[in-house]
């Protein structure tokens, strides 16, 4: 069976041109990263800001080309630097961004936001587009009456549902989720995570889930990749990575994550009383 997504030695450099006062320099944002994801599975990419995880998301979503290395989607090699992206390829990968306040056009109604990908990438008739958008609204837990409303009339969690619905309009194989719940409240976060799990079951979706929140990753991921300064320092199944982290950075990351269990609180209070 071929992987839905396979990356071999993906590299991305950004060249910053020099000026009279500054030398030109090259930033290596992603340095030779390899991974693969199978259908219906979730790969979580973890790391702190500036580690290259969002750059990687842009490459996988075919927004930016990789500088070197191969990316295969459903076994087909994709290189947007060399050839134009076909609508068929475009439909296979979609993305949901972090900030639901910034990624929905405030001047467009929800219906227009949802049908726009269909207008661009398919020849569907207007009626069909509308029906599909209505059906998708229900799938993500919204109602048909929301079709004609504007984004500002929704809460953060509802907006993130709209963003997820928009990404699913083209029936993608692979969904890239770039910190989809980090801007949301705890209870809303739980709702959105449940929605993602439901949708994954229903459509056999494959997720690339980018996050810096290890508790969310431990809950949702099948495989985990930890990135540090553009390199994948740790890559393995969730159990492997969480029970036996190999790299020092992964250990630091685990140690830094706040614990909310009763034993940790007792230990902390004991330390405090002793001091």
């Amino acid at each position: 069976m071929t992987h839905v997504l396979e990356a071999r030695n993906l590299t991305r450099d950004y060249h910053i041109p020099g000026s009279l006062f500054k030398k030109a320099k090259t930033v290596h944002a992603v340095k030779g990263v390899s991974f693969s994801v199978d259908q219906g599975k979730t790969l979580a990419i973890v790391g702190e800001s500036g580690c290259g995880k969002s750059t990687l998301a842009r490459i996988v979503t075919m927004i930016d080309p990789a500088t070197a290395g191969d990316m295969l989607i459903d076994g087909n090699k994709v290189d947007i630097a060399k050839e134009r992206l076909t609508p068929e390829m475009r439909q296979k990968v979609q993305i949901v961004f972090q900030n639901p306040y910034g990624t929905l056009n405030p001047r467009k109604k929800i219906g227009e936001i949802l049908t726009e990908p269909l207008i661009i990438n398919t020849n569907m008739k207007a009626d069909d587009r509308r029906d599909k958008a209505m059906a998708m609204l229900k799938k993500v837990g919204l109602e048909e009456k929301h079709y004609g409303r504007y984004p500002h009339m929704f809460s953060g969690g509802q907006r993130q549902r709209v963003a997820i619905a928009r990404a699913l309009m083209l029936n993608p194989r692979l969904l890239v989720l770039d910190e989809p719940v980090s801007a949301l409240d705890l209870s809303v976060q739980a709702q959105v995570l449940n929605l993602l799990a439901d949708l994954q079951d229903e459509f056999q979706l494959t997720y690339v889930f980018i996050s810096h929140d290890l508790s969310v990753v431990r809950y949702i991921a099948d495989d985990v990749m930890v990135m540090y300064y553009g390199e994948a320092v740790e890559y393995g199944s969730r159990e492997e990575v969480f029970s036996d982290p190999k790299h020092n950075y992964t250990k630091t990351l685990f140690a830094a994550t706040p614990r909310a269990d009763v034993e940790s609180i007792k230990a902390r209070l004991a330390r405090k009383n002793a001091a």
Binding site: E48, Q191, A256, T257, R259
Partner: protein, 284 residues
């Protein structure tokens, strides 16, 4: 006598749709040397109640309280200029967005020395020496050189350290930290929380941490207040809150943590709690 005492605080905003009650009868006490965490979701009024105590709300807000005492002084009865002598000096606040709360047009050195000049009246040399000392205290490397930098030249974690240094500059008796680590990476979050806890213990400050992150509560607080839609739902010491939460809402909030997930799906609050059920167990 407690260091800081609020009784029946109500904050209302005048909006086009009539008055909106953001904080509805919240009471709390903080003693010197104590860490209180206020936890709640967005819209629970946790920031607004602290901004009201600081006197930082716009004129559209109507603040009333039976008691709003700091060190025995009634903050609501003070003239604005008298109040400013306390706020920023004895009560200091750290905000959520470190990069946005520093002025981009001035060096960080200027911004910290401004506080020292206004509140303590130090001369130029003493201000600079104190600023270097403070930067050193919060763990900024090369403090003397860093004073000449602008906020955009520093990372988010460094900017938050500058904010903490400014807040600590006059040795406050009470420090209010409004989501101090929400915008930061976990490794930086750990450093900042460790720093806050160390400074709190060393100076014996009262510390109020406002957060929506249960992990941060578990790692820092002595006592916890849970708020929802402007009302206080529960107040308990940290261990009993996590071990045996009294209200349904707190229980629901804790079970929504991915750490505590038992099945395939996370329990969500809306599924089994209405507002009435949440408020039924509310305390005053």
């Amino acid at each position: 006598m407690s260091l800081f005492e609020i009784e029946n605080l109500v904050v209302e905003f005048q909006t086009a749709a009539g008055p909106f009650r953001a904080v509805d009868g919240v009471s709390m006490k903080v003693n010197a040397g104590e860490v209180l965490a206020i936890v709640g979701e967005s819209g629970s009024g946790k920031s607004v109640s602290m901004l009201a105590a600081m006197g930082l709300l716009p004129w559209t807000a109507k603040v009333t309280a039976d008691k709003l005492l700091f060190n025995g002084i009634d903050l609501l009865g003070l003239s604005p200029s008298d109040r400013r002598k306390i706020v920023g000096k004895d009560i200091a606040m750290i905000f959520q967005e470190p990069v946005a709360s520093l002025n981009p047009c001035f060096t960080v050195g200027f911004q910290i020395e401004e506080v020292l000049r206004i509140h303590l009246g130090l001369d130029k040399k003493a201000r600079r020496a104190r600023a270097i000392e403070l930067f050193d205290l919060v763990g900024i490397p090369n403090p003397a050189e860093r004073l000449g930098h602008f906020p955009h030249q520093m990372s988010g974690g460094q900017c938050q350290r500058v904010m903490i240094a400014i807040a600590l500059s006059c040795n406050p008796k009470l420090l209010i930290a409004d989501e101090p680590t929400t915008a930061l990476d976990v490794t930086i979050q750990k450093q900042i929380l460790d720093l806050l806890m160390r400074l709190q213990a060393e100076h014996g400050m009262g510390l109020i941490i406002i957060t929506h992150n249960m992990g941060v509560v578990a790692e820092t607080a002595d006592r916890v207040i849970v708020q929802y839609k402007g009302r206080k739902i529960e107040e308990a010491d940290v261990l009993s809150l996590f071990e045996s939460p009294k209200s349904e809402y707190t229980r629901a909030l804790l079970s929504a943590l991915p750490d505590n997930a038992t099945g395939d799906r996370l329990p969500t609050i809306a599924e089994f709690l209405s507002d009435d059920q949440i408020f039924a167990g509310a305390v005053r």
